[in-house]
Subunit: 238 residues, 2 copies
Amino acid sequence: MPLSRQLSSSRIRDDGRGIPDATVARLPIYHRVLRSLADDAVHTISSDHLAQRCGVSPAKLRKDLSHLGSYGTRGVGYEVDFLSYHISRELGLSQPWGVVIVGVGNLGHALVSYKGFASRGFEIVGLLDSHPDVVGEKVCAGETDLVVQPMAELEKVVSSSNASIAVIATPADAAQKVCDRLVAAGVRSILNFAPTVLSVPVGVEVRKVDLAVELQILAFHEQRRVDDLTPLAQVMQA
Amino acid sequence: MPLSRQLSSSRIRDDGRGIPDATVARLPIYHRVLRSLADDAVHTISSDHLAQRCGVSPAKLRKDLSHLGSYGTRGVGYEVDFLSYHISRELGLSQPWGVVIVGVGNLGHALVSYKGFASRGFEIVGLLDSHPDVVGEKVCAGETDLVVQPMAELEKVVSSSNASIAVIATPADAAQKVCDRLVAAGVRSILNFAPTVLSVPVGVEVRKVDLAVELQILAFHEQRRVDDLTPLAQVMQA
DNA sequence: AAGCATTTGTGCCTTCGTGCACAAAGTTGA
DNA sequence: TCAACTTTGTGCACGAAGGCACAAATGCTT
Ligand SMILES: NC(=O)c1ccc[n+]([C@@H]2O[C@H](COP(=O)([O-])OP(=O)(O)OC[C@H]3O[C@@H](n4cnc5c(N)ncnc54)[C@H](O)[C@@H]3O)[C@@H](O)[C@H]2O)c1
Ligand SMILES: NC(=O)c1ccc[n+]([C@@H]2O[C@H](COP(=O)([O-])OP(=O)(O)OC[C@H]3O[C@@H](n4cnc5c(N)ncnc54)[C@H](O)[C@@H]3O)[C@@H](O)[C@H]2O)c1
């Protein structure tokens, strides 16, 4: 039955696999809040309370968690450490991931000094830039210091550090070429800060962070608020 | 017929107002690509070509644009300047928006020096920080220089500059209090970089940018790729 | 002027995501 | 042991979003 193979496989596995994208995007939030609760010595929490701290509805939270398995106790709630462990396991945070940053300008420097990476299981293992002034600079990244490497070293850095995630923080016009070289070097996950649409072959995932886009979305709703009030004022004047 | 009221209302208004969130999130991309095309002296483009440059499907692009009105010409395509103007108008970019940044640390400095804000109709009109070493610092922001103000000046800066958008780039544990003060000062749109869930009253919109979350989503898919291969290797060994 | 080629705008269908409501399951207390 | 209470996990219904396919509309050529 080759047709049903994809759908059937193992039911236990299916539970773990078919996690909706919307749920995956929220799991890191749940994980962060749970870790924070554990620091405050909270051992157990109900879906209602956890949902409130995460800014989601209780029903959505429970449905999200149900995709991972039945890790709650009815009548009680969820054990913080237990649930936190299973989420981190599902997200792949039980092992540290190596990250390479290409483009160590204003934004790149901020990223390197960011402590939120290491605390969530990511380790910056390589810095690359093309500008002579930046290459060779020693940058403090968490515990160890890193030296910015020239672009010629890209393939070597990626393969020797076994990094599978790359961050692009170069100007927009350089991003596609950098992306191509990263993909050729074996990187399959890219976080792109340059305001450009990157084309990649299938099997490579690109996520983008575009601050200007975020502001423009805010501006849209801001203007809509203004427009909604304007007709009222016009009516009042008439 | 109270049931059909929501659906009917005014068709003309509905066209302008009921733009789906997913569409609004893509309009800035279309706008950026159109501006780039205009710079290259392209006057007309079809939905197929524009969609390819924007990384979306042609059907999605056409449906998105149809929410703004009928600005295309059948058999020809879209006039670049004309469409660009209508998108910028819909996004509220015809007028410049003032932006206040709270927290001028590593990330805050990078944001101030970012040229992508001014070029898209946003102007940084205020910088605020609580640390004595940072307050008073002169920072080069676009054309004009800005001086970092102490937190006591927050309300004054917001009201005098008439800023309606604020960016929070403080540590996580300070974000909620900063947020409360911004809202009290009249800010209704907030872009939050601190890894915390902010609670705001209704009518205030918060968008968050969490780099660690983005990396964790990438890590999830990365691990899923590894897990999908593992059973195969086990089968081959057996 | 008329037909051909091209491209838009949209109706329809499928898939995905969300919220409600409740039965099932477990705890607590008597 | 049993009943009352709490909370999870999920079935269902609804709305949002995406993709396909095609009729309508426009330009171009003859
Ligand atoms: N600074 C921000 O706050 C901010 C905000 C949003 C988006 N961005 C985007 O992030 C990117 C980086 O921003 P930034 O402010 O750090 O710019 P930047 O100019 O300060 O830094 C860019 C760095 O990339 C390097 N570089 C240039 N070409 C390269 C190449 N071909 N290969 C490798 N390295 C190269 C430069 O030497 C420089 O060090 C830009 O695309 C920008 O649009 C920045
Ligand atoms: N640096 C990054 O790349 C990065 C990435 C993702 C998220 N973040 C988040 O962005 C925020 C800022 O990051 P950063 O690297 O710039 O940190 P930072 O420590 O360099 O800067 C924080 C700034 O906020 C100021 N501040 C502290 N408390 C304040 C208060 N109560 N009111 C006003 N200002 C206050 C500090 O004086 C400092 O200047 C953090 O929440 C961080 O988690 C940063």
